[in-house]
Symmetry: C2
């Protein structure tokens, strides 16, 4: 997974556990894709300060994921739900009952995550 | 939802963010269903100490849920997956295409949570 995509996912899940200041800066990097220099200028801090804050937030967010694995669980869930959609669409075209059984199995797996 | 079920759910999701000591005591209450007096005796602390620790853990765990809403999201996901299972089972019996469409819609909603 591309680094910025991973950062965005982790931020979506655990961003509320950062301070308001951390969120403001981290969002400019990860969500709004501004350069460190732009943010440094906007926020009146050094480029190195922005860099350090982003690295610190990365570590905090990865630390939550290491403990809780909720991004991982949600990704699995969404993958399975996507499979169900595809299987049912294929079933509509092909009418093969095995596809239906696979969709049911995927739904059962979601309830067990 | 019954209090102990809610505590168990919150503990499943966020328990790793408590200290080892908090986890040990909280688990005795919420997972193993021991009485405060039993735990107090086992752990060599007062009954009031156990009581206070449990209340503090409740507040910490509820605090995470207030910020992150991940228990809520997972409950919605599992409810939708359960609906998909039921709809496909009904579809197998009744062959009504509307049931299939509802199952697809539920899968689509999971991918959007």
């Amino acid at each position: 997974m591309e680094k910025i995509v991973r950062q965005g996912l982790l931020y979506d899940f655990y961003g509320e556990l950062l301070t308001a200041h951390q969120r403001r800066i981290y969002e400019e990097v990860v969500v709004n894709d501004l350069s460190l220099s732009e943010i440094a200028q906007d926020q009146g801090i050094t480029r190195q300060g922005v860099h350090d804050l982003v690295r610190r937030c990365d570590r905090i967010l990865e630390g939550y994921e290491e403990k809780l694995h909720l991004v991982e669980k949600f990704e699995m869930t969404k993958q399975l739900a996507g499979q169900i959609e595809q299987l049912l669409e294929q079933y509509r075209r092909a009418g093969d009952g095995a596809l239906l059984a696979q969709a049911e199995e995927a739904a059962r797996r979601i309830t067990e995550i």
